[in-house]
Symmetry: C2
Subunit: 518 residues, 2 copies
Amino acid sequence: MAVEAEREKKTRGRGSRRTRESRSANSNNQSRLPSKRAFKPVELLSDEAVEQVHRCSLDLLRDVGLEFDLPEACDILKRNGAMVDSDTGMVKFDPETVEHWVAQAQSSFSLSARNPARNLDIGGDNIAYGSAGSTPNVLDMDEGRRPGNSRDFENLVKLSHTLDTVDFFSGYPVEPTDRSVNTRHLDCNRDLLTLSDRVIRLYGIGKTRIDDGLDMISIAHGISRDELKDSPRALTVLNVNSPLKVDSTLLQGAMEMARNGQAVVVTPVAFAGAMSPITLSGSLIQHNAECLGVIALLQMVNPGTPVLYGSIISNVDMKSGAPALGTPETVTGTIASGQLARRYRLPTRLFSGCSSNAVDAQAAYETMFSLWACYLGGVNMVLHAHGYMETGLITSFEKVLLDSDLIGMMNALSRPIDLSDSKEALAAIKEVGPGGHYLSVAHTMSRYKNAFHSPLLSDWRAYEYWLKDGGKDYAQRASNKWKQLLEEYQKPDIDPAVEQALGEFAERRKREIGTAEI
Amino acid sequence: MAVEAEREKKTRGRGSRRTRESRSANSNNQSRLPSKRAFKPVELLSDEAVEQVHRCSLDLLRDVGLEFDLPEACDILKRNGAMVDSDTGMVKFDPETVEHWVAQAQSSFSLSARNPARNLDIGGDNIAYGSAGSTPNVLDMDEGRRPGNSRDFENLVKLSHTLDTVDFFSGYPVEPTDRSVNTRHLDCNRDLLTLSDRVIRLYGIGKTRIDDGLDMISIAHGISRDELKDSPRALTVLNVNSPLKVDSTLLQGAMEMARNGQAVVVTPVAFAGAMSPITLSGSLIQHNAECLGVIALLQMVNPGTPVLYGSIISNVDMKSGAPALGTPETVTGTIASGQLARRYRLPTRLFSGCSSNAVDAQAAYETMFSLWACYLGGVNMVLHAHGYMETGLITSFEKVLLDSDLIGMMNALSRPIDLSDSKEALAAIKEVGPGGHYLSVAHTMSRYKNAFHSPLLSDWRAYEYWLKDGGKDYAQRASNKWKQLLEEYQKPDIDPAVEQALGEFAERRKREIGTAEI
């Protein structure tokens, strides 16, 4: 609640949300709905089954443990009661130690954006959808498939900004591979913080990038680094190299985020059959153990650090070993892992992905299965939810729009069924009478503009009209639309002094870093 | 339960299901899963809101009523306490009359197929998915869009038969427009009953077609017309010409089905803004009143008649007036109408449809929204679930496979998460150790064949391999596959004497009917 009050305070005096929102390219669609679930998450595991997975995970942490190949992490773990084998880096945990530290994590928190209207409430029934992140390649129907570059990166940031469904940036919506890896974060953070106004993700590839990122967020938000510690304004993702091995570079970054009170998404990747046991039950046990062990460490670093419990459970194609996203196993695994996360009162994250190579029916159904997995599983942050294809190897401009459409429709499920209207409805039914139609009665005319959700690109015309207009399928319509949206892009308000300071910071740090490896 | 025992009895001595199933073209996929919901339907309306819709619907039936333009129906309604205005055909109902008769309907029943392995349990957590039905046109990628003919009809019946996901025929999977409308039912029923073995739908266009159909089902099932009355073996659909007007030709057929103890699907069509009020609350009230009034009549005709409560609620595109299927309103409307149906302990039906003109992303996402509406809304029979496009104007061969894939994935949600495996899983995790992989360990090797659901046509290969193989999108892959499945089609077992009798019946009735209108 302190966070809430803080947020309220910061919101005042920055201009109403409506003013800003009215600029967004699809704001003519309808007023943006809060991304909240319309009904409770569902359950697949019995309470006893949840307890069994919990106990097996604790057994695994006690008897086998996790590998932390980072001395500073091992020191903290040792100091707080974990058993560290310094030869192997294997760390074993008592059940009590795990439970004590995991209980320090917050069950919900707010992530503040540069634009307070874009602050995110994480936890409970909230769902926030991110841009794509970290994909090396980009695809559009005009220029085809290619490695991402600065122009694609900027266009995807701008396109994301025009879409009301993009609640935050899951990272760089494509990697600008023409920017030096050592200083890419400086250029990219500057662009993300000036071309848009949403919450951003910092890449935790070591401590330096996180520190640079936090400096830039402080500049953008007009606060000091000390003030930044008061409430989370950025997230990072800490992957576990499942099974049981914590990535030490990402861990350095995540620990730096924790020290600064910023959000860490803990993400084991349980692709059953490859990185976790082939059974969903075995995958859940391993995945839960990995989440709990890493979350315990982050709470040792800074009790109360806002964390998200990663819920990435899917399967591999047993013919090729290739991971498959948006499968039935994604849905059942996510529902089950959501039950576990709620047992620990932790907010959760998943991604919305697909393994399709084209913006076709497969892309749509795999993404829908991913989105429904999130919706039904109680997931709070959905990373990579706009444009992600090929199991994360590519961002497609056309699929950005498809995904925005799908998320817009999921959000529209929250439009309430308003029964206060029943008297007028009964009168309208009487007025129309048997066999009539409602198209022109007053009850319809006074409501038709906002009665229903309007998708961006669904084409409901009769076949003949559709054909006459070129017979364009969804991908072709999306190809036209994203270019139109880019043309309509308007840069969000920013204090020129802040923008200049961000640019100067980036340039100074680029000079300092030069070509040195960081 | 009497029905269950009956079913058991009839099942014996007809050969095991496994023998028959092993012939189906995708039986190498995995063993067919029962189409049962993996979790309970969800709720959007509070209990009070459900009661409010209920009361408003009863008010509507009392104060306005429904139009029944059929004297034999009006006579029955009058005899059973409804108030009939014989000048206008308007029939008003006391709330008590409605509630009394609706309570006579069965909350669940079994529909027997020619092949007992294909009997359907209707009600509770069961979901059955049908073929397309009644579409005038057909589409495939080789020959394009055209009116349906006998060859298309036969091919779609055969293709449906190869697919484990087709639980019944929702009607003619395309209208064979080259067959005379007066005798089409004879040829089509013969084909449906010999080329496949699933439950079929009879078109209730008057009494004669129903009687012919019931005769043919009796022949196919080897029972007398009197024995047929013991349990339902066919369904018909009674549309309401919403608002408030019951189609009298279909009503004749439906009443004949009721007299014979066969199943009637009562289907008001609530396209909000055109055929029902523009608000979902108003649409629910009208739709519920229409369902209850017609179900009351059918119970007056024959108490206990198996009926399904139609749950077709969607919206129209307010720009064009065209209906739109698979929208967010489909999902919320279906969830709410499912709550109403469960209040009356009635099984429900919806269809799975889309308004797309191409087998593209829109086709997939609209169908997925329809399927999730059914799944979350507790729907028991999903009509038109294979191939339906253009809001019902067309059946697409390629979309038959897309829909089969989607339904197969929905059914796979019922694969249980088996925790009895946890000890072996823990041993496998220990064996693999930090940073290893599971691809070749014994725990994986002994389970990989059936570990995960295998979609028919999802392509999970890396981009390069996919491209080298032609870079085919889903629709192109489906175009190859349906022809392969048709080649692999095997006619189900049938007693040659039964087949001959069906043919002779059809020929005799065709001669009798000739060109007369029936």
